[in-house]
């Protein structure tokens, strides 16, 4: 899909062909997290809180550098620190920025019963609209990444918006802006995929990370947050990143065949009993009062 307004047509004071002229790119957006260059500084955590207007919340110390055990309704961006023992006895200190993955096929949206509470934009962002949220947490049921978090006071569910408000204004998400090492990138999905693949090739050629790869899981149709991992064969060691995330089968059956069968069953059930009445009528009571004294 051509994104007309952002194509360069001409450049002032420029000799020779115009660079980028006629380039068309997909409109969808993507965040690339390169775990191999993350230093765990948590600037993204701070930027996320600042932009979204949340106070720092109390944390739980669990003998790691991790800010808290899990993301929370008012803490959407968490660097997960993992000390992974390799087969040769060495330790890998793995840091992964955890947040909503903005699935192309979002399980939260499939499971949500409330009209307009979850919106997927053309650019790939999956956003929660708390005004329409009813607090049932079916989204938690549908999410393979355990991302939506419930606020028991407001009875609403919250998660990373991929800074849809900033992106809509042509800015990059707050976390991207804060990253000091350049491990976070933001752009179109194609560009980010290309950048990620280039980094993977670099890692394979120049380092010992021969299993380096890009995490962009097909099971949920690809995601609009992708990772470069040193070891793409074992994403679980990065704080439980699922190897093959999928919208749960039971959610598919529930929102597919069961909904269809249930609806048809109710329609034909009502029709059926009505037709039964028309055909057979009511039962009659035998009156035998004359047999009694």
């Amino acid at each position: 899909m051509s994104n007309g307004p952002l194509e360069i047509k001409a450049i002032s004071g420029h000799s020779g062909p115009v660079p980028g002229q006629g380039v068309s790119r997909d409109y969808d957006v993507c965040k690339l997290v390169d775990t191999t260059t993350c230093i765990g500084c948590k600037a993204c955590e701070v930027a996320c809180l600042e932009w979204n207007g949340y106070e720092f919340r109390e944390t739980t110390f669990d003998n790691t550098y991790q800010t808290m055990p899990d993301t929370a309704w008012n803490f959407w961006n968490l660097i997960r620190f993992n000390e992974h023992e390799n087969s040769d006895g060495t330790i890998s200190w793995l840091m992964r920025k955890d947040q909503c993955m903005h699935c192309e096929d979002p399980g939260c949206l499939a499971a949500c019963p409330a009209e307009g509470a979850i919106v997927q934009y053309q650019n790939g962002i999956v956003d929660f609209n708390q005004a329409n949220c009813i607090g049932c947490q079916y989204c938690v049921t549908g999410c393979p990444f355990d991302i939506p978090k419930f606020n028991s006071v407001t009875k609403k569910v919250y998660k990373c918006t991929l800074c849809s408000d900033r992106v809509g204004a042509g800015l990059e998400p707050a976390c991207i802006k804060a990253c000091p090492t350049g491990c976070l990138h933001f752009g179109s999905k194609d560009d980010m995929k290309a950048l990620a693949n280039k980094r993977v090739d670099q890692l394979k050629a120049n380092t010992s990370y021969k299993d380096a790869g890009v995490y962009d899981p097909d099971g949920v149709g690809g995601t609009h947050v992708i990772y470069v991992l040193h070891d793409a064969k074992n994403p679980e060691k990065y704080g439980g990143l699922p190897a093959d995330p999928r919208v749960p089968l039971m959610v598919r059956l529930w929102k597919g065949p069961l909904k269809w069968l249930g609806g048809m069953g109710m329609i034909f059930g009502v029709l059926g009993v009505f037709m039964h009445r028309v055909k057979y009528g009511p039962k009659h009571v035998d009156r035998v009062e004359e047999k009694r004294p």
Partner: protein
């Protein structure tokens, strides 16, 4: 029908009545029925987008999400109430097995072929036990769905299974509910009076529940 030549002005003689349901039985049944109807409407709103308009009718999505579980508690209390009252009457008997063989005759109103029945016929007993066990399943799955935030992240995989079972079980009860309401309102005149006033005519009792009628009146026809 008697077929006799004598025409009796039956309207002039009040029909003999027998007690069908006590006041506590009727109260329990109707609280349960009202609770079920609310659970049905709000449950359907949460089940399919085609029925989400019911949420608006009943106060909005957050409102029905709040009240559905509480109404479920009320529903379960009356289910257990009815269970303690009726469980002896709901035991399957030899007559029930005979009745079940004649199910088709019952459905097609060939009632002269039906074996005499106790206080509840085999169909009513089946409906009761389906609703009772389905309600237990709905209760157990419903508690999890009431407080999903209390389910540890490590076992979130149970949530889709729980939601599916809750929905599928609810659909089974809807089938039973539909037949139950249809039968009482349209098929067996007099049964609604029994549940509202507590009384049915002796003729009604003898026709539909001969063994029960003989037991409570001491009469042998």
């Amino acid at each position: 029908m008697s077929g006799g030549a004598v025409v009796r002005p039956s309207v002039a003689v009040p029909e003999e009545q027998v007690i069908r349901y006590t006041f506590p039985e009727r109260v329990g049944h109707w609280i349960n029925g009202i609770a079920y109807t609310y659970l049905l409407a709000t449950g359907l709103a949460l089940f399919t987008p085609h029925m989400y308009w019911l949420a608006a009718v009943l106060g909005g999505g957050p409102t029905i999400r709040f009240w559905h579980p509480w109404m479920g508690v009320l529903y379960m209390i009356t289910i257990f109430w009815m269970h303690s009252t009726w469980k002896k009457d709901m035991v399957t008997t030899a007559e029930d097995r005979e009745w079940q063989k004649h199910m088709k005759d019952y459905v097609e109103n060939r009632d002269d072929k039906m074996p005499p029945q106790h206080r509840f016929n085999a169909g009513q007993k089946q409906f009761w036990w389906v609703m009772f066990y389905a309600s237990l399943i709905l209760l157990l799955t419903g508690i999890v769905m009431w407080f999903p935030e209390e389910v540890p992240p490590g076992v979130h995989w149970v949530l889709p299974i729980v939601v599916f079972i809750h929905s599928a079980t609810a659909l089974i009860t809807i089938a039973g509910f539909l037949i139950h309401v249809y039968m009482s309102v349209f098929v067996t005149p007099g049964s609604m009076k029994g549940m509202l006033d507590g009384q049915v005519s002796a003729d009604w009792a003898r026709t539909h529940h001969r063994l029960w009628y003989e037991k409570i009146t001491g009469r042998r026809k």
